[in-house]
């Protein structure tokens, strides 16, 4: 029998999960369970929505109202759920490819509307499930099965993309500091409006192997050495920050949430 946390929030009969040894999607999924537990959310008021890809298997493991949808369209389904019942806490699991390639258009419009959805991007820089094709977040020059001579595309910063498109809360978490990840996910759930956490996940099986990054432990140690907090980054020079990834809350401000604005329209029209 697993820990009480896992028993309470996950579908034990579907575990162990299908993710490869050392894949950090499982660690982030646990962080979500801890965040939900800390917030004391009612099981029946939480909906997990996912798209397609390794990351999106999460919805099948979480013991809540869950829906595993089509590739890139988790945002559209989540928007529908939130519009139909704004009281629900809608949490969306997606990956770098699902969110920024196949679902890129849905992502930017969910951001633009500032609809109350919490998006957790399990960003492992590769399409793992289909065999290691390069994704929009594969760094320039790195390898994938479809980039055998190195990727010539510029990589997306999904948190920046979401912020530019209108998301009112964005953050970045990493696999080394999972306590920080849990806190950021908690803040993202608490935030009113569209929130997104770019979770730097590791894929030792494809991204790691293709780019000679070593095993899971080495990949986590790399993240430890190459991530800095927002606070620390403020006192660092551009040169010092060149090979660093900034983690923490990247953007957080208030703006009217979409379903509330929609309700105001309903109220106004009914009065007239």
């Amino acid at each position: 029998m697993p820990s009480k946390l896992i028993q309470k929030y996950m579908r034990e009969e579907h575990l162990p999960h299908i993710w490869c040894p050392g894949c950090s999607h499982g660690s982030f999924m646990r962080a979500v369970a801890v965040a939900v537990d800390r917030l004391g959310l009612d099981h029946d008021k939480v909906v997990f929505v996912s798209g397609i890809g390794c990351s999106s298997r999460s919805a099948g493991y979480m013991d809540f109202n869950t829906i595993h949808t089509t590739h890139g369209r988790a945002f559209a389904f989540a928007t529908g759920i939130k519009m139909a019942n704004p009281e629900l806490e809608v949490i969306l699991f997606t990956g770098d490819g699902d969110a920024s390639a196949i679902g890129g258009n849905h992502l930017i419009h969910a951001c633009r509307r500032n609809i109350g959805i919490t998006t957790l991007v399990m960003n492992n820089n590769i399409y793992g499930m289909t065999g290691g094709q390069y994704s929009p977040t594969t760094p320039t020059g790195e390898f994938g099965t479809t980039a055998p001579y190195g990727n010539i595309d510029r990589d997306f910063d999904i948190a920046e993309l979401a912020k530019a498109a209108g998301a009112t809360f964005t953050a970045r978490a990493n696999t080394y500091d999972l306590n920080q990840a849990t806190n950021l996910i908690q803040k993202a759930i608490e935030h009113k409006g569209f929130s997104l956490v770019d979770c730097l996940s590791i894929c030792p099986s494809y991204y790691g192997r293709k780019n000679k990054k070593g095993d899971a432990v080495k990949m986590i140690q790399w993240q430890k050495e190459h991530t800095v907090s927002v606070q620390k980054a403020q006192n660092m020079t551009e040169e010092e920050l060149q090979d660093k990834i900034v983690c923490g809350v990247l953007c957080d401000y208030d703006y009217p949430e979409y379903t509330e604005k929609y309700q105001q329209i309903i109220d106004r029209v009914r009065k007239d």
Binding site: P2, G22, S27, R30, P204, D215, A216, V217, I220
Partner: protein, 64 residues
């Protein structure tokens, strides 16, 4: 309440993350499964539980 280190070996995939980050070097992976080879050194800090991607190791409160 007493705390105890628990292992569910069937769920362990042998990635070695828990062993590498255990501050007291309590854990080792043998035949692709984690083992608490120096359990007496365990300080029940829960780093392994925090990091294990497969929920195969954790610290549990047990009645004495």
């Amino acid at each position: 309440m007493k705390k105890e280190l628990m292992i569910q070996a069937e769920w362990c995939k042998g990635c070695g993350i828990c062993a590498a980050f255990c501050p007291k070097h309590v854990l080792e992976v043998k035949n692709e499964k984690v083992e608490a080879v120096r359990k007496e050194d365990c300080i029940l800090c829960g780093q392994c539980e925090l990091r294990c991607p497969d929920y195969a190791i954790w610290v549990e409160e047990v009645s004495e």
